[in-house]
Amino acid sequence: MNRKLQRVRDAFRPIHLVALGFILLVVVLSLAAPVILPDPLAQDGANTFAPLGTPGHLLGTDGFGRDTLARLMAGVRTELAVALATTLLALVIGTTLGISGAYFGAVAETLTMRIIVDVLLAFPPIIFALLIVTIYGPGPATLTFTMGVLFAMNFARIAYGQTLTVRRAEYVDAARAYGAPTLTILVRTVLPNISAPLIVQASLTMAAAILLESGLSFLGLGLVPPAPSMGLMIADGQRYMASDPLGILIPSIAVVVIILAFSVLSDGLGRWLDPRRRNAHA
């Protein structure tokens, strides 16, 4: 136990801790937001596009007179949940497909990589989203599922490529020779050795999920307004970019900072998972 902690301590440098701290802070704040901030849905027609620092509206208001800060925090909450769930879903589905496609024979490869992954990748995302929304109706769960499946294909291709190389390694042979169940080989032997690009992809996916959520919500295929979401804020902000730059700037900055925190954190995660890098300088 102690040793594991030690490894974590070796891998994570101050900057990673700052990132982690920031994310935790954001989570706590966004959870606490309903208590300390005004209702993010409350419109105030008399007070639209209020500037920064307006009393009661620290970050101003939008075209509906809704408090930007409250919407932002509520949006962050939704967004983190949706983006994290999406990423996790994509990671699990995609990695499973990719590893199996590369590890097992040609039949598995055709089935996973060619039939599922390539077809889905080549399938127009907007039509896929339309279909899912048609079947299940819009909302966070549909959105997460749609995006999760879409992004899973990226993970699949990456996992596939990396596994092609790793499956030839002698330590994989060793695992087979020592009777490791196939699942164990895939999860305990192959997976850790292909984890680096997957982790990076996960942090990229976080960002992509937020942007895609914005796009899909804008098309009515994502979250249902007026639910506060960063994606919807961005989509709205884009329209008023010329007249109200703050509207786009605030959620964009929030996304950038959050994504930055996640990429820094993912670097720490990469160090932690790779014993050779754990004690390296960079």
Partner: protein, 304 residues
């Protein structure tokens, strides 16, 4: 081939599952006017939408085999020339962005990995910025700054090859806009691959020969990380092909995505199907290329 057929079948049925009636849209002038049921029925008949679904499907397949992708509902002309008109434009955009994105991405990734520390953090920060800034915002800002303020480049539109200089000038901003997040993604993946590979024993071997640090990096670290980069590049090229929509919108660039979105909005099935097939074919092509290159880059990845 089988894949294309599968894709084609899927798209054919899926697009028809999605609500929206092309005949009603057409009859009402894109949904803005009134249309009597008779009028809608008449148009439906003209479009062949009154036939049973399977008959439509096999009719379509039979056409595709002959190279006939049907007649666009909205334009009333053959789908093939409409798509072929736009295909090279989108390809130019995608290839231009790929070129910039890959070059800049790899360079930044290498710098980040080699210099480490603060430089790496700065590049990570830039990367986070580049991937989280909405393409639309980036595009608009570029238009404001470079086209409207500095007036260096046009704000958008399209000029054909008959004026090569203007043609290229038009391409610059959209390509850059597409390339920015692309480069960030490539840089991130490159960096991570590099720091992992740099730990391998063979790097030490190459150093022991007295190879110059740049060669060691290029041939033994970068080269081995390229497989991961290649995967991403392949993916992104494929995805870009179908998702340049925002860029095309900001720059009013007449690419396939615009056509696709517009056709989805109009439920112009033949075009949606045509573009989807085109995109799928392109994607499959890119994938085959990636898989071949993969084997070239890493002999262990070969199937046999």
């Amino acid at each position: 081939m089988g894949l294309l057929l599968l894709g084609l079948t899927l798209i054919f049925f899926v697009i028809r599952t999605v609500p929206g009636d092309p005949a009603a849209l057409l009859a009402s002038g894109g949904g803005s006017g009134d249309a009597s049921p008779e009028a809608i029925a008449q148009i439906r008949e003209q479009l062949g939408l009154d036939q049973p679904l399977w008959a439509q499907y096999f009719g379509y397949l039979a056409g595709v085999v002959r190279g006939d992708f049907g007649t666009s509902f909205q334009f009333g002309t053959d789908v093939t020339p409409i798509i072929l008109e736009r295909l090279p434009k989108t390809l130019e955009l995608v290839l231009g962005a790929t070129l910039i994105g890959v070059t800049v991405g790899i360079i930044l990734g290498v710098i980040a990995a080699r210099r480490g520390g603060v430089v790496s953090t700065i590049i990570t920060a830039m990367g986070s910025f580049a991937i989280s800034i909405p393409v639309y915002v980036l595009g608009t800002v570029l238009v404001f700054a470079i086209a409207l303020q500095l007036r260096w480049l046009p704000a958008g539109g399209y000029v054909g090859w008959e004026d090569p200089a203007d043609h290229l000038r038009i391409l610059i901003l959209p390509c850059i806009t597409l390339a920015v997040p692309f480069a960030a993604i490539v840089a991130t993946i490159t960096r991570s691959g590099l720091v992992e590979t740099a730990q391998q024993d063979w790097v030490r071997t190459a150093r022991s020969w007295g190879m110059s640090p740049n060669s060691v990096y290029g041939r033994h670290v970068l080269r081995n990380s390229l497989t991961a980069v290649l995967t991403i590049v392949g993916l992104e090229i494929g995805l870009m092909f179908g998702s340049t929509i925002l860029v095309e919108q900001v720059y009013s660039y007449p690419g396939l995505s615009q056509l696709m979105i517009r056709s989805v909005e109009q439920r112009d099935y033949p075009i949606v199907q045509g573009v989807a097939i085109m995109a799928a074919a392109f994607f499959i092509l890119v994938n085959i290329l990636v898989d071949v290159l993969y084997g070239v880059l890493d002999p262990r990845a070969r199937r046999r």
